[in-house]
């Protein structure tokens, strides 16, 4: 390519950028715009892709079934590859295009946009279930659909205490909390977990899993020396699978491994193989292996496209129902005869009481003082390479 050609390419690029930008507001009776950013190509795209497909699938299904009293929802979305600056750019762009609510994805973008959404008064849901985001004093426009990481940790600690006692032990159980080196990883520990363990007679200690570590032998040896018989993971599937394999090869066979929701999925079982047997996982959302009414629509919708919910995994239903709950807020706003604005949707969501997701999550309740919609989750266990249900919904005390 000559220099002139390079100049031409740059000019075309600049023009297409200009052409692609255009404004637009909400029209009366027109589609209701909801913004969304997905990770389809970044570091969390393995779970981000089915989650995104779930959200998009729900919108497509809803519109095909008449929308909200004839009004369609238009999802304005783009891949942001888990890059915070891109998330901010897209957010500004979508707000300008007139979105009334927003679907985010990870901890990074949710934290970065927390202040902006409060300024712009846009209800925001994402797959980051950090406890603090459910506190309207801290984050007035964030809504948690999944069980907060802290609540999941509390429930797991309760379960450990019972399990330890049921094995005939009289002393306090020892728990190792292994976490991703990020706000996401530390969130359940810092936001109440440490105190909860201490107040409930559990000896818990936190171990950081260094980024990109080829193995976790050093951390696991320290855990072995400490005598902890339970390891709770707050990380994503790949490092958790690696640590579980490491532990098995170190001969830590009497240790029970428990994953909070972001490593409780099909990926963990595939990657850890035999070592995954007996691993326990926390499931705020019901995986497709369990037959619940709430997964019928997504399963039928996918079947009509020649795909299957089993192949998409647990995150599809998670995305589907996150969007469904947001839509419920919009539906209520319309039913009350109010204008569809972020403020009104927030008020409508805050009036949601025991909203039934057909068994996919515990019933969802938002109040003006509490945006943690669900406080329950099930525990599952890996048997013969499959997640099997171990308990029904357990609730944080």
């Amino acid at each position: 390519m000559s220099r002139k050609a390079l100049i031409v390419v740059l000019l075309i690029a600049a023009m297409s950028l200009l052409a692609a930008c255009g404004g637009g507001g909400e029209r009366e009776g027109g589609p209701i715009k909801v913004g969304a950013i997905f990770d389809l190509s970044g570091p969390t795209s393995d779970v981000g892709t089915p989650y995104a497909e779930g959200i998009r699938g729900y919108v497509e299904w809803l519109n095909a079934n008449g929308g909200l009293d004839g009004r369609e929802i238009e999802l304005v979305w783009e891949d942001y590859a888990y890059e915070v600056p891109r998330a901010e750019q897209l957010y500004t762009q979508f707000v300008q295009e007139g979105v009334v609510a927003f679907q985010g994805w990870g901890t990074g973008d949710t934290e970065a946009l927390r202040g902006k959404i409060a300024e712009d008064k846009l209800p925001f849901m994402s797959a980051s279930y950090s406890h603090v985001l459910g506190d309207p004093n801290e984050a007035p426009y964030n809504f948690l659909v999944g069980t907060s990481y802290s609540h999941q940790f509390f429930i797991v600690l309760d379960w450990i205490k019972e399990d330890w006692a049921s094995k005939g032990n009289a002393d306090a159980p020892k728990v190792a909390f292994m976490h991703h080196p990020s706000p996401f990883g530390l969130s359940p520990w810092e936001q109440g977990g440490k105190e909860y363990a201490a107040n409930n007679g559990i000896e818990a200690e936190a171990y950081e899993m260094p980024r990109g570590a080829p193995d976790f032998t050093a951390e696991l040896s320290r855990i072995e020396d400490s005598g902890a018989k339970y390891v709770v993971f707050q990380t994503v599937s790949t490092p958790a699978a690696l640590a579980i394999k490491n532990a098995r090869s170190l001969g830590m066979d009497d240790v029970t491994f428990i994953c909070l929701n972001w490593c409780s999925d099909e990926v963990l079982v595939t990657q850890a193989g035999d070592a995954a047997e007996g691993v326990i996982g926390s499931f705020p959302f019901t995986p497709p292996s369990i037959d619940v009414p709430g997964l019928k629509d997504p399963a039928d919708f996918l079947a009509s496209k020649g795909e299957s919910l089993e192949a998409k995994g647990v995150h599809y239903g998670q995305g589907w129902w996150t969007m469904a709950i947001m839509t419920e807020g919009i539906r209520k706003t319309l039913a009350d005869g109010k204008e569809v604005t972020g403020e009104n949707i927030k008020a409508a969501l805050e009036s949601l009481r025991d909203f039934d997701t057909g068994g996919v999550t515990a019933p969802i309740t938002f109040t003006p003082d509490d945006h943690r919609g669900s406080k329950g989750m099930r525990l599952f266990i890996v048997r013969n390479g499959q997640w099997e249900q171990l308990t029904d919904f357990l609730t944080a005390k």
Partner: protein, 347 residues
């Protein structure tokens, strides 16, 4: 007919803008940036603000890498120091932003000097690794010193206030950024007309020769680290006050590499190159995402591939520039000017 630009006085030769055309262009550019925000949508203002911050950071890095020839992979770390200093001074001690920003710049300059010390003994690749260590040390300190920085939690900073006005919109913050970026560019342009700036360039071109002609290499290297870090810290501090929520994840090694790419694509050792590079690297992803949205209905497969290909496109662009125009966008800009200057008789 003219065959070049000649001067009859030293004053004219030393001027920042030496020809009437240059002056007109600068005036047009100033008018443009002053008028732009009144017509631009929030999306474009957001992009403009990102470009302004990136320009300041790129000029800072260019002082060190482009002008003084000291390679640095610690850009992200120095931005983090600036951002956290400014953020903590405002959030914890209640300093107004116009005080916390200059203090943050000075703190970053100091930290820059400390991490610049290895440059006294190290060059090239070895220095790159030493600055990489700076990056890791700063990141580690931020995430493991929760009493000071809040650890891995995001740091929330109150919106900056000026004369009772909250600078919480892109439009209002634009003016702060414009002032900062303009000041940085003007200072740097003048810096390289002084003894200090020329000492930097002498060190880059041949450090032993520089020492022989009387440049105190150790002193000037550290001064280059301090000056560079000052502006990088400014970019960080402005990020903190502009975004009002920051976390360490914004300032990783990827940020360092992104800024190096900016100045390579823009043009090493030039100020307008820093601006071109910053604009290019900010607009390219925005453009890719807009194209992919536009293509979604027409060619869905292409649309899903495009965002995923972004990293690849970045890489390809850098290689293209290194091969075709190693002096970057700044040189390309000069070529365009030369083309019209000699038109229609290109020889």
């Amino acid at each position: 007919m003219e065959s070049g630009v000649f001067f009859t006085t030293y004053e004219a030769d030393m001027a920042l803008r030496r020809t009437p055309v240059q002056k007109i262009r600068l005036a047009l550019f100033i008018v443009f940036v002053l008028v732009f925000p009144f017509f631009a949508s929030p999306y474009w203002l957001n992009l403009a603000n990102q470009i302004a911050i990136a320009t300041i950071g790129a000029i800072g890095l260019n002082i060190l890498v482009g002008y003084t020839g000291q390679i640095s992979l610690g850009q992200g770390a120095f931005m983090a120091v600036g951002a956290y200093s400014a953020g903590l001074l405002t959030a914890r001690m209640g300093l107004p932003f116009y005080l916390s920003i200059p203090i943050a710049c000075l703190i970053t300059a100091l930290v820059g000097v400390v991490f610049g010390i290895p440059s006294l003994r190290l060059k090239g690749l070895y220095l790159a690794i030493a600055t990489l260590a700076a990056q890791e040390i700063v990141e580690w300190t931020i995430t493991h010193w929760p009493q000071l920085t809040g650890g891995t939690e995001a740091l929330v900073i109150p919106s900056p206030m000026l004369f009772g006005v909250r600078l919480n919109t892109d439009f209002r913050f634009y003016w702060i950024l414009l002032l900062a970026a303009g000041g940085t560019a003007l200072f740097t342009a003048n810096l390289f007309r002084t003894r200090v700036g020329r000492a930097f360039v002498a060190i880059r071109d041949q450090d032993i020769a520089a020492e022989v002609i009387g440049v105190n290499v150790f002193f000037y290297k550290l001064l280059a680290f301090a000056t560079s870090s000052f502006f990088v810290g400014l970019a960080g501090a402005l990020t903190a006050h502009y975004r009002t929520i920051i976390s360490w994840e914004r300032f990783t090694i990827e940020t360092s590499i992104l800024y190096l790419a900016m100045i390579i694509i823009g043009g090493l050792g030039t100020i307008n190159g820093s601006f071109f590079g910053a604009a290019f690297m900010t607009l390219l992803p925005a453009m890719i995402s807009n194209i992919s949205r536009a293509l979604r209905d027409v060619a869905p497969i292409l649309a899903t591939l495009l965002p995923a290909a972004q990293q690849g496109i970045f890489g390809a662009v850098i290689i293209l520039f290194l091969v075709l125009e190693p002096e970057g966008l700044a040189k390309l800009w000069r070529n365009i000017k030369d083309y019209f200057y000699v038109w229609p008789f290109s020889y």
